[in-house]
Amino acid sequence: MAVKLNGIQFSYEDDRRQQLLDIGHWAVERGERVLIHGPSGSGKTTLLNVLSGLLTCTSGEVSVLDQRLDLMSAKQRDQFRADNIGCVFQRFNLIPYLNAIDNIGLASTFSAGGNERWREEATALLSALMVDHDDWTKPTSDLSMGQQQRVAIARALINAPALLIADEPTSSLDSDNRDNFLALLMGLISKRDMTLIFVSHDMALAEHFTRLEALSDITQRPR
């Protein structure tokens, strides 16, 4: 089971009355490609942050890749995230003044196992993602949005995570770039047998995914 949430409740410390998440039960199987659609601000970021271990819930069980995040310390969760979960966001996926290789290298430094061969894997990924060789050594701020988002995928995958979490990664792209991005992403996901949880307001993407869910259905799921 890739993800299993049981009896999750979450609210921010300074506003305990507003229950942002109230999930009786939610699960995702390994290998699923889930598209969660919904408008911004409705708790999607909160949900993703709980899944990635950045946030802890006030109550409930959070199980990711068969590990109980709610039983881990902050440091353990950080390490778990570095080793097992890749994240791609809408913007600011990369350190702008570093080049693509260095960005990927930076991500690889956080993995516990260490990886001497990261450079080879990085170049393989960049090639697979159709990022031109000349663009690998430019500061990523010099790259186009489409290129940056593709480099971001490489950055997210360098530590060979089993789960990829994507938070509106195509929302800043034009349609051509978006389609290109999704094609490349899905190719890599299936090749590596990964699980994908993808949040977007754009329902037109649904054809690429195995499951489509409304955010509101998940976040306010009573027991």
Partner: protein
């Protein structure tokens, strides 16, 4: 900009330390071979400054008789009489005897050496310190005219009595380098007036003309004693000398009095440079602090990649430390270059030898303090980074 500020602060801090240390070493080295300095009763610092460093003027002279008396006493191994008060092109002229070349030592028991020529013999012979010779372009057999009084544009020049350079001393790193040395008789001859006759004016009437007429008075004299143990005794004897108000000082003691006087000034200087550093370091802290807010997205990215809040804390501290190290390198290098270039000029003018070697225990300690203060100043932004990192969602 922050880097510049820190570099400047380091430059000032190290520069002051350097000058302070070098001044002390330089002064100490000048008097290291002398056991006692004797002159007319005046402040001991005053005596030290005018007799050895040619700074200031003597208040009174001492008689030749008194000098002979003391120089010939049992405890004294050697004596060097000196007569001050004349100048040439801004460099002081000092009258002395052969004893100067034979007995004067400085630094670590170093002797005077000649880079050319030899010690004076005749009344109108002159031996130049290395700086005088190189700055004015004089060498052996150059003729020079010496004037009475200290200003280089003196109006009482004695044009008809030129001196001849017979020797140039090798550099010593002491005021000897800025001095023109002549015989005591030479000084007397200058005062004698336009007459070309070098002797006789001050000798007792019925003594025949000889090259070695005795001067009536001298400014001061230096003593080397046979045994260091007798120093205080001899000093006391001189201070109580009947017939003339004399005083004897131990150069080392007088120097430490000088440093004590200077210490308040030095401490003010150090305080100022510490404040300069404080300003620079606080500036750095402020810059870092304001940058944290700008870096929200970077923080989020790093957190998602697995960085812990502690990691981010250390990141900011490291940025501060790197700034500090760069500032030290930049400031230190600038100081080194500056000393290299102005060192010669300072030496020529003040007789203060400024070494460009910067690493002393005090300097190292100071840099350690700089590093520590940087780390502390960076604590505020680092902690802010930590709390931001914990909260970012």
């Amino acid at each position: 900009m922050t880097l510049m500020a820190i570099s400047v602060a380091i430059f000032v801090l190290l520069g002051i330390e350097q000058i302070r240390q070098q001044a002390r070493d330089s002064f100490a080295s000048t008097v290291s071979g002398v056991d006692l300095i004797v002159g007319a009763k005046t402040g001991s610092l005053n005596l030290l400054l005018y007799s050895v460093f040619r700074i200031g003027s003597p208040t009174d002279n001492i008689s030749w008789q008194a000098y002979r008396n003391i120089a010939e006493s049992d405890n004294v191994q050697w004596a060097i009489p000196i007569s001050l008060g004349d100048s040439h092109e801004g460099y002081r002229v000092v009258g002395t005897t052969q004893a100067f070349f034979e007995h004067f030592s400085f630094g670590k028991k170093r002797r005077l050496k000649f880079s050319e020529g030899e010690p004076f013999e005749d009344t109108f012979d002159a031996v130049l310190g290395s700086e005088v010779a190189s700055t004015l372009g004089y060498s052996a057999s150059t003729e020079i005219v010496l004037a009475h009084g200290l200003a280089s544009t003196s109006f009482t020049k004695h044009d008809s009595q030129p001196f001849v350079v017979v020797g140039v001393l090798a550099p010593t790193g002491t005021p000897v380098d800025q001095t023109i040395h002549v015989r005591l008789e030479g000084i007397e001859a200058m005062h004698a007036g336009a007459s070309a006759v070098p002797i006789g004016a001050f000798a007792p009437a019925d003594v025949p003309d000889t090259d070695s007429s005795e001067p009536e008075s001298i400014t001061a004299f230096m003593l080397g004693l046979k045994s260091r143990m007798s120093t205080f005794n001899v000093q006391r004897q001189i201070n109580q000398f009947a017939g003339e108000p004399l005083m004897a000082i131990l150069p080392g003691v007088a120097l430490s009095e000088l440093w004590q006087m200077m210490s308040m000034f030095e401490n003010v200087l150090r305080l100022i440079s510490a404040l300069v550093l404080l300003a620079a370091v606080l500036g750095m802290g402020a810059v870092l602090l304001s940058s944290i807010r700008e870096r929200r997205q970077e923080i989020h990215l790093l957190r998602m990649m697995g960085a812990s809040p502690l990691y981010l804390f250390c990141l900011v501290e490291m940025e501060a430390i790197i700034l500090c190290v760069l500032g030290i390198v930049l400031g230190g290098t600038s100081l080194y270059v500056a000393l290299h270039f102005i060192g010669d000029a300072v030496f020529a003018r003040f007789g203060l030898y400024l070494d460009a070697t910067l690493l002393s225990p005090e300097a190292a300690l100071m840099l350690g303090a700089v590093m520590v203060s940087t780390i502390i100043a960076a604590a505020a932004p680092s902690i802010k980074m930590y709390t931001e990192a914990k909260q970012v969602t």
